[in-house]
Symmetry: C2
Subunit: 272 residues, 2 copies
């Protein structure tokens, strides 16, 4: 008997095509505390665009604004090609549930990645091999357990704020799917939001937190990413400021071979 085994990630980001309206559904496997993991929502939106018959080119940038919590269950994606150029496309996607208000709005750019002068000033972060680091243990949020996080620097410590200086918000870690899966653009967008909140690191404690807006740029062509043939990335993230209930995050996702695959930034709400 033939058993088809789909990766949980692909199940969770599955979409059903419509003309301009696509359907998806939340996944209990990628659930955060009050709604779906933001990375899986972003990946589902990106999947709808990548699978869209009018799509051409590779993902270049994606911005996702999380407007309201998404309830467990089905949702609709209103997918619109805003403008098509000779070598790039601009898209807008709105996520709604049951004909209600917009819960997530995203804009994306796709582009033909033509050969050009190439230069990577960013420095590849030094890291101990993946195999030599223990995975971060399972936690209550199901989404985090779908990933294999191996911390090189900035291991999460929730023992509380120490007197004096806040702790560092910097982390360096290997990220892989717990069940190995080849890294594609969907992985990269999801992993962009898979860092623990910078405020948890800086304050050494958990608190109410939510990503408000996430932007990721893709620095590799889809063909090159296939050729990399990798199942993990080396990831770094840091924050520049926490102020008046909002803080930022900026991060990089690297191929083990030393290629910068994606850069990401986000602004997030926190209560502290």
């Amino acid at each position: 008997m033939l058993t088809r085994t789909t990766h949980l990630f692909d199940d969770a980001t599955r979409v059903t095509a419509g003309d301009s309206r696509w359907q998806g559904q939340t996944s209990d496997d990628y659930w955060a505390f009050v709604g779906p993991f933001g990375g899986i929502t972003a990946a589902t939106i990106l999947r709808a665009l990548i699978e869209h018959p009018e799509r051409s080119g590779d993902p270049l940038s994606l911005t996702v604004n999380y407007c309201a919590p998404i309830a467990q269950g089905a949702f609709d994606l209103d997918v619109r090609l805003v403008k098509a150029n000779r070598s790039s496309q601009h898209w807008c996607v709105e996520l709604t549930q049951g004909g209600g208000e917009v819960a997530t709005i995203a804009t994306a750019v796709f582009a033909e990645r033509r050969p050009s002068w190439s230069h990577q000033p960013a420095e590849f972060p030094q890291a101990k091999p993946f195999e030599q680091i223990l995975p971060y243990p399972r936690i209550k949020a199901s989404w985090a357990n779908q990933y294999d996080f191996r911390f090189i620097e900035g291991y999460p410590d929730f023992s509380g704020v120490k007197p004096g200086e806040p702790a560092s918000a910097y982390s360096k870690l290997w990220m892989a799917d717990r069940v190995p899966r080849k890294i594609d653009a969907l992985s990269l967008i999801s992993m962009s939001d898979a860092f623990f909140a910078r405020i948890f690191h800086a304050r050494r404690e958990l608190m109410p937190f939510g990503t408000v807006s996430l932007t990721t740029y893709f620095h590799i062509g889809a063909d090159d990413l296939v050729a990399e043939d990798i199942s993990r990335v080396l990831a770094v993230a840091d924050a520049k400021i926490f102020h008046r209930s909002y803080g930022d995050q900026n991060g990089e996702l690297w191929s083990p071979s030393g290629r910068l695959l994606a850069t990401t930034t986000q602004i997030a709400y926190f209560k502290a």
Copy 2:
């Protein structure tokens, strides 16, 4: 006779209110080589949102996707409140001309900036005082001449690529309006796009270039920014990668007093 003198920047970003459709017009004073300076377009969009009667809270994030060149003349802004929450708002703005295709699409988040725990891990860049540095000379693009750029590091050198390593893409400079104007959120979004292209620095030459997507986060409440009462910012920008016709930029805009006012990132097309 009473003469009312409006700053060129405010002229250039003037908008006329409609219900959901607002009007603006390009400005010859902020013209780039093939269309309006992207920063002035972003500032005009932000102005329409700030002046919108339904707007509440301060700008938190703005993403602008430049889809097509904007022709000289009038344009329409289709301004839509996508989702309003108790303490935040999500907006979408589409710029069109003469009922044609979308030339620019933007999403924005506004938020009430409530008091919270505050921490600024980013380090204030050291800089010589503004007064001790000569302004960058006037150039052909009119927009650049509306600004007073005073370079501390990464002075533009367009003498061509040297053999060996590409030049640094890093710049540190003071930015002010040539005719002094108090820094507000509109200044910050415009200045976010006022760095010279990173590829010009890395290659030491000019070439076809265009910002594709720009994201800026605001890290200061509007009231605090008024209280800063400044007419210039200390700005730094760098790039992480140039690859297959696209390169990134990340930057910071600082108050002279050492407050991080805004962080910005963009992905841009180049031909080299």
